[in-house]
Every structure is written in structure tokens, then in C-alpha cells.
């Protein structure tokens, strides 16, 4: 099949490439560009490990063809850190609150939470749980992920995170 020329902005840098129409965005990122932060955890658009931010939306990059992302502005976990190179509040929160173990779901989870906090600056626990329901984690039991996102929300809002009493 004829390859298509695509151009998109990924983590602030413009990327131009030739892709086969059937190349899924996740393979384009991982295999063609070496952006291996987003992962593949399932075949059926359920696990969310491949989540990237595409034009201000969280999407599962295993269910988008790279050609569909022509012209898009994409952020992956590699582009989440602050412009000055310091870690984003979410990256810090996940470490502080032990919101990860094997780390495989983490890039997708943080990238999803990044968009969630843009849309809802101060989510409740219930809203966080609903907001990350497209991301599966097999290690943490989610409780510390919720705390990590609460930590980040507090930090971004300029307040000190108070852990809820157990």
C-alpha cells in the first residue's frame, strides 16, 4: 500500500514521516519514532497503557491510525514534564504517593490524569476514579493512584495535599 506523508507536533517538536495507512499511532510513536513511553497492554482498546494527549483529548493511540493524526498536536509522557525540566506535579505525586509499581500503566495513567486535571482542577475521589476508568492498573489497587492525582491537583492549585484519614 502506498505510504502517506504525515506531519504532526509531538511534545512540541514537528515530526514529518511516511506511514502506511494501517500503522496505528502507537506503533508510529514506538517503532518509528522511538517514543516508547506509551505502552501496549491489550488489543481491544481497554487498558489505556497507550494513552496520549491528542489535540487536547486523551486518546488510546492503539485505536487511532497515524494518518488520522496528521496535523495533530500530541503530548506523550515524554512531554509531560515542566518546560524548565522539573517534573510535573503528577510525576511527583505518583512517586510521593507510591502510585505505581511495575510502571507499565504509569505513562498512560499520568497522561490521562494530565487531561483530567485540565478539565477538572479539583476533582473528588469519585470523579478521579471515574476519570481514570479507561486505564487499567494490575499492581496498585488504584488507591495510591487516586492519592497521587489528588496530590498533583493540590500542588497545581497551590495548596498542601492533606491525605484523607483512613
Amino acid at each position: 500500500m502506498a505510504k502517506s506523508q504525515v506531519a504532526m507536533k509531538i511534545n512540541g517538536k514537528t515530526v514529518e514521516a511516511l506511514v502506511e495507512p494501517r500503522t496505528l499511532l502507537i506503533y508510529f510513536l514506538r517503532d518509528q519514532l522511538g517514543i516508547t513511553g506509551p505502552h501496549i497492554g491489550c488489543d481491544t482498546s481497554h487498558c489505556g497503557a497507550c494513552t496520549v494527549d491528542l489535540d487536547g483529548k486523551s486518546v488510546k493511540s492503539c485505536t487511532v491510525f497515524a494518518v488520522q493524526a496528521d496535523g495533530a498536536d500530541i503530548i506523550t509522557i515524554e512531554g509531560i514534564a515542566n518546560p524548565d525540566g522539573t517534573l510535573h506535579a503528577l510525576q511527583e505525586g505518583f512517586r510521593q504517593m507510591h502510585g505505581l509499581q511495575c510502571g507499565f500503566c504509569t505513562p498512560g495513567m499520568i497522561t490521562r490524569a494530565y487531561r483530567l486535571l485540565q478539565e477538572n482542577k479539583n476533582p473528588t475521589e469519585e470523579e478521579i476514579r471515574y476519570g481514570i476508568s479507561g486505564n487499567l492498573c494490575r499492581c496498585t489497587g488504584y488507591q495510591n493512584i487516586v492519592k497521587a492525582i489528588q496530590y498533583a491537583a493540590a500542588k497545581l492549585n497551590g495548596v498542601t495535599f492533606q491525605e484523607a484519614a483512613e
Binding site: 500500500m1 502506498a2 502517506s4 502506511e20 495507512p21 494501517r22 496505528l24 506503533y27 488489543d43 481491544t44 482498546s45 481497554h46 489505556g48 494513552t51 483529548k57 486523551s58 486518546v59 488510546k60 492503539c62 485505536t63 487511532v64 491510525f65 494518518v67 488520522q68 490521562r112 483530567l116 471515574y130 476519570g131 481514570i132 476508568s133 479507561g134
Partner: protein, 288 residues
């Protein structure tokens, strides 16, 4: 998993899309949000030679009021439906239902048009569109035509949409002010297809049901409009005995398949339980 090869087309207008469909015939397949089609292609259960991506057609997006109807472009996403203040005030059951579809990532991309057009009985919007008595606008070679949602679904992945046609918009009459509504969906976990679900829209007058529409999701090879149940309920005060009769009538039209969500008998009974609960909640929300 890797889909088979295909040629990719990204028309800029409905006309262009219709032209491509006419040219490519059975080799052409429309791509909307892609969250049903792309996984199917990855599993190689679908191997279209050409994909016609509707994502580049601006005319297919948006939500607008038109007289007493609301017209939703086919490529409007579930996320857009949830975010719409117009829908929240006029047809709140649409937001309620959208919020129960899949997960946040899928709702950013999944479209109303795709959900209603592909004929999957597990999708939530088809039953809701039947309940709301929506009309689907389709464009083909010979122009545009309108198809009632209530006559659209013919069987598993079989709809009244003809080959060569593109579903462009969904026109939904705004339910009467003060209507009650509920979409009750039993699912194994968030994001799952329904084990069974029931959509109810009703109005009450003097404590009695004045109008009512009921539709059921995923308990047959197509969405079901529960007309007999509706007839039983009209004029009643939704007393327990009448609801029981109506639920029995609704259960009687189901014919679910056994799947990992449960055996057929269970899913039929769950359609009944969901309907009972939807009626109670709709009643509690209805004014009059």
C-alpha cells in the same frame, strides 16, 4: 495486533464521501470514531480494502436546535454530548446515557453517528434513539433521506442504511418539558456493554402516565421498542401491579443470547429489573 492493509481516504465533504462510497462499492468502509471498527480490524475480523475517514468533514459535527428538535451531527462525540449545555437542559437522558458508554478516552473519539449506525445491539444509543423517536438523516447518490430510528434496526449489524449511504445527522424531538427519564444499565464493570439496559422517557399528568416510551438495549439481535409495555403503562399511576404487567410484557419481547454476561434467562430478567428501576426513577423526575 496489526490490521490488514487498506487505502485511506479523508474526504472534506459529505458529497465527496458519498462519491467515494459509490466508487469503491463494497470495498469501501466508513470510519467514524473507530472504536468498534479498528479493534475488529486488528483482530482481522474486518479487512476493508478502503477506509473512508469521516473525521475531516466539519459539517458532520455539532449540536444545534432546530424548532422543536435538536439536530446532532453524526461525528459529534460522546464527549461533546456530555459537554453540551443545550442537551443537558433539553434532553438530559442523552448525557446520562453517554456518560455510561465505554470510558473517557473512548468518549472523546466515539461518535453518536457511529454508535447508532453500525447496528451493534450492544451499543447504548440505538435503544435511546428509538425511545426518543429520533430520525436519522442519510445521504447517498440519490440525495438525502430520513429514516425513523424506530424502523432502522433490522438485526445483528443489519440496518435500513443502504450501501452507498452516509448517516449524516440525528434529529431528536425535544421531549415535553417536565418529562421524566432514566437510562438504567446493568454492566459487569464500568465501560462494559450492557448485560441489559432500559431507556424510559415519560410524562405524567395528574399523577398518571400521559405519554411513555421504553426501549431496551442488548437483549435481542437489535434494540427493542417495548410498545406493549408502554400501552399497559399509559394512564396508570405506575402502581406496582401495573408496572409488573408492563415489565412482563417487555421481558416477553426479549431474546438475548447467552454470553459471559450471563445466560439468556438472566439477561431477560435483568431487562425487567432495569425497566422497573428506570420507571421508578423517571417517575421521580417527572413533573405533573
Amino acid at each position: 495486533m496489526i490490521p490488514g492493509s487498506f487505502n485511506y481516504h479523508r474526504p472534506k465533504s459529505v458529497q465527496e464521501a458519498v462519491g467515494l462510497l459509490a466508487k469503491l462499492g463494497d470495498d469501501g468502509r466508513l470510519l467514524a470514531g473507530g472504536h468498534s471498527l479498528i479493534p475488529t480490524m486488528k483482530l482481522r475480523l474486518a479487512t476493508p480494502a478502503n477506509l473512508i475517514d469521516l473525521g475531516g468533514i466539519a459539517d458532520l459535527k455539532g449540536i444545534r436546535a432546530d424548532g422543536n428538535d435538536i439536530v446532532v451531527g453524526a461525528m459529534t462525540t460522546q464527549h461533546d454530548l456530555i459537554a453540551s449545555d443545550l442537551l443537558a437542559s433539553k434532553i438530559p437522558i442523552l448525557r446520562e446515557t453517554s456518560a455510561q458508554i465505554a470510558d473517557p478516552q473512548v468518549r472523546y473519539v466515539g461518535t453518536l453517528g457511529g454508535n447508532v449506525a453500525n447496528g451493534d445491539p450492544a451499543n447504548d444509543m440505538p435503544a435511546l434513539m428509538m425511545c426518543l423517536n429520533a430520525t436519522f438523516h442519510a445521504s447517498g447518490k440519490s440525495g438525502e433521506r430520513k429514516i425513523a430510528a424506530r424502523g432502522f434496526y433490522q438485526g445483528l449489524y443489519a440496518t435500513a442504511l443502504q450501501s452507498g449511504e452516509v448517516l449524516t445527522a440525528i434529529r431528536i424531538p425535544v421531549p415535553a418539558a417536565g418529562h421524566g427519564y432514566a437510562y438504567e444499565k446493568l454492566k459487569r464493570k464500568i465501560g462494559d456493554f450492557a448485560t441489559a439496559a432500559a431507556a424510559v422517557v415519560l410524562t405524567m399528568k395528574g399523577g398518571k402516565v400521559n405519554s411513555c416510551a421504553i426501549a431496551l438495549t442488548n437483549v435481542a439481535d437489535k434494540p427493542l421498542l417495548a410498545e406493549e409495555a408502554t400501552k399497559i403503562l399509559i394512564g396508570s399511576a405506575l402502581d406496582a401491579a401495573t408496572v409488573k404487567r408492563a415489565v412482563a410484557a417487555a421481558e416477553a419481547i426479549t431474546s438475548p443470547a447467552e454470553d459471559p454476561r450471563g445466560p439468556a434467562q438472566y439477561r431477560t430478567k435483568m431487562a425487567g429489573v432495569m425497566l422497573t428501576r428506570a420507571l421508578a426513577r423517571a417517575k421521580s423526575l417527572a413533573k405533573g
